[in-house]
């Protein structure tokens, strides 16, 4: 199939545009998304095309925005609520955790909440502790929510289109560092079902599981490790809920070693949970302890050098892969 190169933010825009054209109940609200086209330019041009009824600016009032979105979804629309930073989604946690995630169960399955919250997280450029968090574990923990974390333009488009067609609340977590990255996106109707991971690089020695902005960083590490003679398989689950356990377990059973990389801080993170799944299901296949590379358990520092030190970098991933192979963390110079 033909494909073309798009930026992550352009791929997201295409997904929203195509679904708004297809389904008149899709609308989007957020801060600065209509007139300004969004802080990350994802929604540029949509106001002119669909008008202020379906592309609407809001005041700086996240609790109200999320409440509107959840209510509209219950009433039968397909709202997209854009929250500028995932950190600010905390203002709407009651609507997300107690209403959106529970409504389907509490109505005996009759009420559905096709609510999509698009937001972004992660470190990048020294925007400090309240604008740099990776909070996927909070949503991952709540039964009833879908948690999506695309790492490429193609995945971003395909998963967002699926999100706008399925019936449950979706936490669509983008990354501030990824908006300007480029990648090939298939032409035509391009939809990616939830729960299907993607092998971003095939390998035989170690399985590395990563998502969101840790995927490109892990691919860089894998490239460097290949020069050291180590073949790394990089798996991107793409959706954390539902999680593609089968792909993970099959890969780990093959390589017998696993490293999980998350930008979020270590304590109570998704990596720990994936690790527990591997230990329960594939313990007897393992030839080394599962390694977790994660952010430090501190608020993300403002200072750029400290910010960098607080989240996994390429060398941290390389060292963990080498440990999983029972090798010294740093390759010794050939000689």
């Amino acid at each position: 199939m033909a494909e073309r190169e798009l930026m992550y933010r352009e791929a997201l825009r295409e997904a929203i545009d195509e679904e708004m054209a297809r389904d008149p109940t899709v609308f989007i609200i957020g801060e600065g998304i209509a007139e300004r086209g969004g802080s990350y330019k994802v929604t540029e041009g949509l106001l002119a095309k669909y008008g202020p009824g379906r592309v609407r600016d809001t005041p700086i009032a996240e609790a109200g925005m999320i409440g509107v979105g959840v209510g509209a979804a219950i009433a039968g629309a397909r709202p997209i609520v854009e929250i500028l930073y995932v950190d600010f989604a905390m203002l709407g946690m009651d609507m997300i955790v107690n209403q959106a995630a529970k409504f389907r169960l509490m109505t005996g399955g009759e009420g559905r909440v096709p609510f999509v919250m698009r937001t972004q997280g992660g470190t990048g450029g020294g925007v400090a502790a309240q604008h740099s968090q990776s909070l996927e574990a909070l949503f991952y923990h709540i039964p009833g929510l879908r948690v999506v974390m695309p790492s490429t333009p193609s995945d971003a488009k395909g998963l967002l289109k699926y999100a706008l067609r399925q019936p449950d609340p979706v936490m669509f977590l983008e990354h501030k560092h990824l908006y300007m990255t480029r990648g090939m996106v298939p032409d035509g109707e391009h939809i990616i079902e939830f729960g299907k991971g993607d092998i971003k690089r095939a390998g035989t020695d170690v399985t590395v599981i990563a998502w969101s902005n840790m995927v490109p960083r892990t691919l860089e590490a894998a490239e460097e490790l290949s020069l050291q003679g180590i073949s790394v398989e990089v798996i991107d689950p793409r959706t954390l809920v539902p999680l593609d356990r089968a792909m993970i377990l099959a890969s780990v059973s093959r390589t017998r070693r696993c490293v999980i990389v998350q930008e979020a801080n270590r304590r109570g993170g998704v990596a720990s949970d994936i690790c527990s799944i591997i230990l329960a299901e594939a313990f007897w296949e393992l030839d080394a302890p599962v390694e977790i590379v994660a952010g430090l358990d501190i608020p993300v520092p403002f200072n750029l050098a400290l910010e960098k030190a607080s989240v996994p970098q390429k060398d941290d991933i390389i060292a963990a892969v080498r440990r999983a192979l029972h090798e010294s963390p740093v390759a010794r110079a050939a000689g």
């Binding site: 017998r256 007897w284 030839d287 080394a288």
Partner: protein, 425 residues
Amino acid sequence: MAQPILVPQVGQDLTEAKIVELFVKLGDTVKKGDLVAVVESEKASFEVEAFAEGIVISLPFAVGDVAPVLEPLMHLGAAGEEIALDATVVPAAAPAASPADTGPAAVALAMAPLRAGGNGGAVNAARRASPVARLQAAARGLDVADIAGSGPRGAVVLKDVLALASSAGAGGDTLEIRTLQSGQGTPVVFLHGFGADLSAWRPLLADLGLGLPLMALDLPGHGSSRGHHAAGFDEIVAAVGQSLQRMAAGVHLVGHSLGAAVAVALTEGAGLDVRSLTLIAPAGLGPSVNGDFVKGFLGARSEPALTAWMRRLVCDPASLAPVLVRATLAARADSGLVPAQERTANALFEGSTQLFSVAEALRRFQGPCTVIAGRDDAIVSLRDIEASLPGNVALHRLAQVGHLPQVEAPRLVQALIARSIRSAG
């Protein structure tokens, strides 16, 4: 490294065997496949062969002694090697009288490879090892305590086990075929069912009276092949098929349950000339299997629990000999066995559904085929089996018999196996 040769199981409910011939004495060197002894039960005699090369370094029994089954008949090792004291066995008069004597601990001890030079000689006394290294070592009869590990702080990792196994010439890829009785002519290969191992066939073979070589192997995930993981039915068939290549000139297959399904699948694409098929309570013909049984059977950790589940295998609970339950439990003393079988079960069954079918392959098989099934089979229903049998297959429906016709109606099953094989000419 010293390894024991065990007194074989000689009957479903027999716990001891008489040693009638010993072909070796202390200090003799034996090769793999050498006949080392003959033991007998009241009904039949069994040849015991060496499974590895080595020097006989212990021989606790003499001709005429009565030895407990599954205890070491002798140990093979290197010149000058001693065996650890705690693993030598004093001839026991009647171990069946006390369940403790034939329980898991006794058998696990007997099956554990012995350390060179006693406990002080272990290079890895703390037994540090990765899970897969531990499993693979156990599958090859190696003790991680004897292996110098290359992992962190001396831990044994997979490559250490594989290196040792390949240097010892022990192939890891093909399943080991055991000769249960030697003979002349086209070999008969017996394939056991899910959760069993090849020793399950021994009682049945005692007086089969065919004169053909009788062989068996442990399916992947079972018995000595528990380190051999198969990702699904096709992989099991491929592994067995590969192991049987040296019998490409012709083979009779006898299978029970899962083993019967494997036997049918081997009639196609494995490059084997299958002369006859005898299928006992075959799986793989209908869609359903008793999923509760598979789950409960694998989950049982105590003798009462396992007894409760294994009773489902038979129509008359009295026909289930306690020794059969204890042998199953004893095999599970190896911590890798149950996980290996759970993996196999997950690949074969989804709840009460069999994920594989050999009904079409059976339809295409033109040779003689006999099916033996119990009317009261609670695991795989007779109705399912009947529904998918082609017309050229002989079906024997046994009243008052469950999933183990070979246990509940051994005489008849022996006669039917012999007739089926003879009919192939």
